[in-house]
Amino acid sequence: MARPEPQAAEPILEISGLRAGYHDLEILRGVSLVVPRGRVVTIIGPNGAGKSTLAKAVFGLVRVRSGEIRFEGQSLLGLKPSQIVQRGLCYVPQTQNVFPNLTVLENLRLGGTLLREGVERRLRAMYEMFPILWERRHQKAGFLSGGQRQMLAMARALMLEPRLLLLDEPSAGLAPNVVDQVFAKVVEINRAGCAILMVEQNARRALAMSDWGYVLDMGENALDGPGPRLLADPEVASLYLGGLGGAREKSRETPRPGAGSEDGAR
């Protein structure tokens, strides 16, 4: 198989030889990747491959043993999360990514904590991008549906106008048509100029919309390439799906009944 050509755009995030883990469990065993400015890059891989750990390591939430993480040329290692946020890299964790006892508006304002000015302008922009948040602005975030929470979590992170948004499994636990909405928003955010680094389990959709994809396996880089092409790569199936890949085509012929028509608000 021919290696895809190297990416052209200037990198905004570069990770090289990253090793990290908890206690003495080494989850990441040397991961390298590049996110070009303004692009969408997705990391996929089986559960336990280290995807979420990678996201946490970038944000300083997991101890990095060796390797380097550079954002716009400067190392992020040893920085506090608030300092990382300040540099223009915001993070949306996979679960518990809103403050349930704060209202939607308070969540957004909290996201804008580091803004010195222009809070109102950003709020307007967020309400424009996520009209549902305007409707619900005085409700406690704990009462939102799963999809709405995900929207709020992204909006909260976008308050600071980051140049790179780090999303940890934005589709986790959401009904299929809500996943569509969330991914559509991700594309919209990207079109507005923000680079995206996304960790996903939902490989098909994520890769389909990505400029570049990386497959992690057992805490190491396994494969990478342009998203759609990676999805078509037979090696991905074997790595990512274990022995399951063979059923893929069959599944396309017989879509799951009702898969696309479930109500989003669960």
Partner: protein, 291 residues
């Protein structure tokens, strides 16, 4: 696969563990939503499914860590749900944990000896009145523990605090400790998570070896290659339900399982970028080669 029909007809009477319509609600959310499954003596059953499918919750329900909202759990023909949580281990049903939970400030040997069942020395009366019996039993327990330490290659760390062990050693210790309870059925929760390839093979070897000695396993595992290699049967869960069940080959072929893992089919529907030409045939062949 010709024996499939016969197997299922015998399933009922030979089932060591039977779960019937197990349901668990957290608030309004059904983490486990009507799960039924059987584990027969001598089997290795793999339990797979994407994150949040409810696998670990199901383990907690089976071991009575959490009370069922509705449904029933039978072990060796006896209904156990609603009984005290220490009962399953006494009947021979023991679990390990996703993130290892060793007794950190006890030695490795103590960790093992603790788990032995029926120790007279665990009663103050026996300690006072029959110290000799206690000592004799302790000797037997220690011998068994030493045996397991040898088996799992942990002799070197026998007298160290368990908290000083490496991640891999903790996995082995947890398995050895569970074995001390003299179980019939072991529930392993992601035994391979965060484990390097060498140790993975080692753990796999232990599971297969123990099965040869008559142990039964129900294993949650994310490493699908691994689960396909060791399981006699695979149960796949998603969103709290069983979505597929059967021989590994059949579950692997099940589109519902593939959908659960990869995201629902028809990837072009919402995707703003052209997914490119499908490569189904190549994928399928590759997949088989790896199976």
């Amino acid at each position: 696969m010709s024996a499939e029909g016969k197997e299922s007809s015998e399933a009922e009477e030979r089932a060591l563990l039977r779960v019937r319509e197990a349901r668990k609600l957290f608030g309004g959310f059904a983490a486990v939503d009507g799960v039924s499954l059987d584990v027969r003596e001598g089997e290795i059953v793999g339990l797979i499914g994407p994150n949040g499918a409810g696998k670990t919750t199901l383990f907690s329900l089976i071991t009575l860590f959490l009370p069922l909202t509705s449904g029933a759990v039978y072990f060796r023909g006896q209904r156990i749900d609603g009984r005290p949580p220490y009962l399953p281990a006494r009947l021979g049903l023991v679990r390990t944990f996703q993130i290892t939970r060793v007794f950190a400030r006890m030695t490795v040997l103590e960790n093992l000896m603790f788990a032995a069942p029926g120790q007279p020395g665990e009663s103050l009366a026996e300690l006072a009145l029959a110290p000799r019996r206690v000592r004799a039993h302790e000797r037997r327990v220690r011998e068994r523990a030493d045996e397991l330490l040898r088996y799992f290659n942990l002799e070197r760390v026998r007298d160290q605090y368990a908290g000083t062990l490496s991640g891999g050693q903790r996995k082995l210790l947890e398995m050895a400790r569970a074995l001390m309870t003299e179980p019939k059925l072991m529930l392993l929760d992601e035994p391979m998570a965060g484990v390097n390839p060498t140790l993975k093979e080692e753990l796999l070897g232990y599971v297969l070896d123990l099965r040869r000695q008559g142990m039964t396993f129900l294993v949650i595992e994310h490493d699908l290659d691994m689960i396909m290699r060791i399981s006699d049967r695979v149960v796949a869960m998603a969103e709290g339900r069983v979505i597929s069940e059967g021989p590994p080959e059949a579950v692997r072929q099940d589109p519902a399982v593939v959908d659960a893992y990869l995201g629902p089919g028809g990837q072009a529907r919402a995707a703003p970028v052209d997914p490119g030409p499908p490569a189904g045939r190549a994928l399928r062949e590759e997949g088989r080669a790896h199976g």
